[in-house]
Symmetry: C2
Subunit: 269 residues, 2 copies
């Protein structure tokens, strides 16, 4: 993949250095390519009253919702994933949802913070895509410089309290002979969606038209390639939005939280 010039100037920066730069307003762009080798994470913030259901939902649906850290209520510090970080200021871009509707996009959320908010960090596909690249596997949307294609499936998530809905998946096309290796390589990272949930016929999981993803960009699929589907971190946001929760704050797409965890910390072991 081509590395933009802004990123190559930061290529030796640690996750902590990058978080401080983001905190001070010096970076509000997507985080793909930053701090290679370190895990990036999806952010979901909800009030304590919904946090139990969300926690059970993640436990019941670990493929789309691989939970890597939960904050204490009211604390913006992810004590496992990045001690000393502040989740109110250390992501480049946030989205604020009220009753399931997008209300605002912000570069920090200090004024939205409350003593009853709980933050969840979920593993991100950047971790397993890095492993695919190291294994010599093609990652089409990186080659093409676009967003991964995401689809709402007919696979039901296991419900938890007020939360239910279909699983959202991301899709990467692969030559048929590369599919077993892709399964093995990504299956090493249960903390970052793990192995695919499906490979092959999209209609088997309720995806009618690969050319029309619900999120992201339409994919380029070459002859002889198999569509391979992984659980996607958009799932919990879509489900929580469908539940029309009073307040939910997430990262903006592609503007992830940079943790101090190594990608390998999300591997099984």
């Amino acid at each position: 993949m081509t590395v933009p010039a802004q990123i190559s100037a930061l290529e030796n920066a640690s996750p902590r250095d990058l978080r401080l730069r983001i905190r001070s307003g010096g970076w509000d762009r997507p985080t793909a390519g930053l701090a290679p080798g370190f895990a990036q994470a999806n952010l979901v913030v909800v009030p304590r009253g919904l946090a139990y259901d969300f926690l059970v939902f993640c436990q019941r649906n670990p493929k789309p919702c691989p939970l890597i850290d939960v904050t204490d209520p009211g604390s913006p510090e992810p004590a496992r994933a990045a001690p000393g970080a502040d989740l109110r200021t250390d992501l480049p871009r946030y989205r604020i949802y009220r009753r399931g509707r997008l209300e605002a996009e912000e570069t920090e959320i200090t004024r939205y913070w409350r003593d009853d908010l709980v933050a969840f960090l979920l593993g991100c596909s950047f971790t397993f895509e890095g492993a695919m690249v190291r294994a010599g596997l093609p990652v089409r949307h990186l080659e093409d410089g676009c967003n991964v294609a995401m689809y709402v499936t007919s696979l039901p998530c296991r419900p938890a309290g007020a939360l239910s809905g279909p699983m959202v998946v991301s899709m990467r096309p692969l030559p048929a002979a590369a599919v077993p290796r892709a399964i093995l390589v990504t299956g090493r990272y249960p903390g970052a969606h793990g192995a695919p949930v499906h490979a092959g016929d999209p209609t088997a999981i309720g995806v009618a038209d690969l050319a029309r993803p619900q999120f992201g960009d339409p994919p380029r699929i070459e002859p002889g390639e198999i569509p391979v589907f992984w659980g996607c971190g958009v799932t919990p946001q879509a489900v929580a939005m469908a539940a029309q929760v009073e307040l939910m704050i997430t990262h903006a797409p592609g503007h992830m939280f940079l943790t101090d965890l190594r990608d390998e910390d999300l591997a099984a072991g």
Copy 2:
């Protein structure tokens, strides 16, 4: 390992058949050796008021507390691990704790059940011990027909709300040359404690005397063998007891819940 005659008569019974037999009062003994290939589980039941902290505790301490199912409040059915089962009657033996003290041991808990109770199922070492046996690795306490040795360590668990305390580990001695294989084989099962947390010098994790375990039987250790330590399912019980919770119900040691999940369902992937 030697299989008792009562078990060999049941060797073709499914987990469901065995649960029904237990429910009807036809089996109140330990479950080791029953339904080989299927995962057995630790049970922890607490009131909803403590369930959030316990859930976060498990998320933060997955080595000792590998969570495989959580019931809806008031429901005794583990919908993922064993649809149709009843956790009030389907284990051979239970322990009832009030304010951290053992109050009773029972063969069913129907009269203790309440609408606000939540049940947690945690993966069990039987899963990874089966994998060790299949890999040709010695499992000393199975060879010797005794209980595994368990120790309270100086390794702190990551606290969650009211819950904190040291990690409890189980120890299996292995010839030095067998340690890497044991790590790889057990590391495949993050849903059942996964890879060891330590191998070698016990004092490095605060264990002063291997001959005096806090739980289980003293181990036989041969010359040239290395003590290898895994996170242990006694940890959450010890921690919840230390918090003197109003009511906690667990399985009695060795009297586990027989799930419909395959051991391989607790493997990473």
